[in-house]
Amino acid sequence: MTVRKALTQLVLALALPVVLVAVWWFASAGSTSFFWPPLSRIVEVFPETWDAERLVNDVLPSLARLAIGYSIALVAGVALGSAIGLNPTLRAFLEPTLEFFRAIPPPVLVPIIALFAGYTGWTSKIVTIALGCLWPILLNAVEGVRGLDEVLVDTSRSYRLRRRTHLFQVVLRGSSPQVAAGARQALSIGVILMVISELFGANRGLGASIVQFQRAFAVPQMWTGIILLGLIGFALSVLFRVVEHYSLAWYRGLRQADRGA
């Protein structure tokens, strides 16, 4: 890509956010509404609201719980999904039940999980995040493994690849594009659950902070929290794209080649 083309892309990508921020800035300028403070005021209180103390004691723990819960979901989802995808009997046995649990919106599980794991600790929050993230990853992993090209599987068998090699080099690599699609969905669910898991009876955390600002009528501070959440979600999805871009380069190439043919 030429520099000129890259610049054009950057300008295109930034144009709308810049316009939206500008509109917000000028529309809210001089606003006297209590719930709708001027953007300039929100920006002003941002640094003092999210100071080092708050970052270490609220934001980082929330992100850590997200990372742990998401990782558990990823590992469990891929492991369980591969097992189910590879084994028709297991699939017939589990699939209806999985479909049922999947249909339950994760947030309603929060009170139930809290009953078992307690309201205040990390466990209930991590379990909430992990459970919510599990479904898209699991179901996509099952589909990805089932959708493996049978000729590839035959090739692997006829060259007598060991089970381990077959699993890691063929099954997991082959299903990775589909798993990535599930993992992307799971990431946004994870961010939502990171907040929701803190709404009930937590006193520290990003989500808990926002609720506390709202209850204390610290409206500009509440807005800074929402903005911070948006920025975090955006950063995570960019990070995800970068990882995907490099690890699934072969898949993009393959798709392009297929389209060209």
């Binding site: 090209d149 000729v151 590839l152 035959d154 090739t155 068998r157 006829s158 060259y159 007598r160 690849l161 060991r162 090699t165 080099q169 063929v170 690599r173 082959g174 990775s176 072969w250 898949y251 190439g253 393959l254 080649a257 297929d258």
Partner: protein, 297 residues
């Protein structure tokens, strides 16, 4: 190219121009010289209330180091037969015996070049990694692997494409990667399912000669499926002509051409023309539904 796999040469049957079609007439055909024995192979596909009898009854044997071609109409069950031999398909009845042992799963020392060559290459691996993976599984040392991979790629004319991914190559090149992978594996039995279907005429001629060369050099037993009658006669020591589905063998044609074959010379001999004519007629008959005597359709 002459330095390819010098250590793995196996002693091939002394007289390649006289393959054994009937066990009695070959100079030295003790039963241990039969590499592959297909006995009364039958395959009925069962699917959603529909039964397809793909292969009815196939019986033949292939001597060690022999090169046998299989021709038959499209849908005759050639792929089914190869997959059965490769241990990739549960048979309805009958059995496949390889080196005296009954095949129940993919046997060691067998390589298959699939008809869907493009789909048989791992798209997330480079060409070189694709060829190397089976060698890794065999436990070969890195230096040895490297050497065999490069030699195999060189042999199929892809020495420069090792770092490409399969999807960056043309169909014919992908085909050759699949062949290189099979060759580098140094199998004792090589099954090829219409391996040259996607390559241009010139490359095809080169690859045909490559198969003959490698076969001579490695002493490997080759079963080669093709729909091209000329190719079958040019390559094989025998040509098995299959009937329409449900499949039986129409005729086992011995190709009594000299062992040294040449694209121009061999193809212009009178004997080649005769054999081609004969096999062509058989295939035409097969397409029209002709079956061997006494066989009810």
């Amino acid at each position: 190219m002459t330095s390819l796999f010098p250590t793995t040469r196996r002693t091939a049957p002394a007289d390649r121009t006289r393959p054994s079609t009937t066990p009695g007439d070959h100079v030295s055909t003790p039963s241990s010289d039969v590499a592959l024995d297909v006995r009364a192979l039958k395959k009925i596909y069962e699917g959603a209330g529909r039964q397809v009898e793909a292969v009815r009854d196939l019986t033949f044997s292939v001597a060690r180091g022999e090169l046998v071609c299989i021709v038959g109409p499209s849908g005759a069950g050639k792929t089914t037969l190869l997959r059965g031999i490769a241990g990739l398909l549960p048979l309805t009845s009958g059995e496949v015996v390889l080196d005296g042992a009954r095949v129940t799963g993919p046997p060691a020392g067998m390589a298959v070049v699939f008809q869907e060559y493009g789909r048989s290459l791992f798209p997330w691996l480079t060409v070189r990694q694709n060829v190397e993976l089976p060698l890794k599984e065999k436990g070969l040392k890195k230096a040895e692997r490297r050497e065999k991979v490069e030699a195999a790629l060189e042999a199929v004319g892809l020495a420069d494409s090792g770092d490409a991914h399969p999807w960056q190559l043309s169909g014919g090149m992908q085909q050759r990667v699949a062949i290189a992978r099979a060759v580098a594996y140094e199998p004792s039995v090589l099954l090829m399912d219409e391996p040259f279907a996607a390559v241009d005429a010139q490359t095809r001629a080169d690859l045909e000669d490559l198969v003959r060369t490698l076969w001579h050099r490695l002493g490997v037993t080759v079963l080669f499926v093709t729909h091209d009658i000329e190719e079958a006669v040019y390559l094989g020591q025998r040509v098995l002509v299959l009937s329409n589905r449900p499949t039986v063998i129409l005729e086992d044609v011995t190709v009594d051409l000299p062992d040294v074959r040449d694209q121009l010379e061999t193809r212009s001999t009178a004997r080649f023309a005769e054999l081609r004519h004969h096999v062509y007629e058989l295939v035409q008959k097969a397409k029209k539904g002709y079956r061997p005597d006494g066989e009810a359709v």
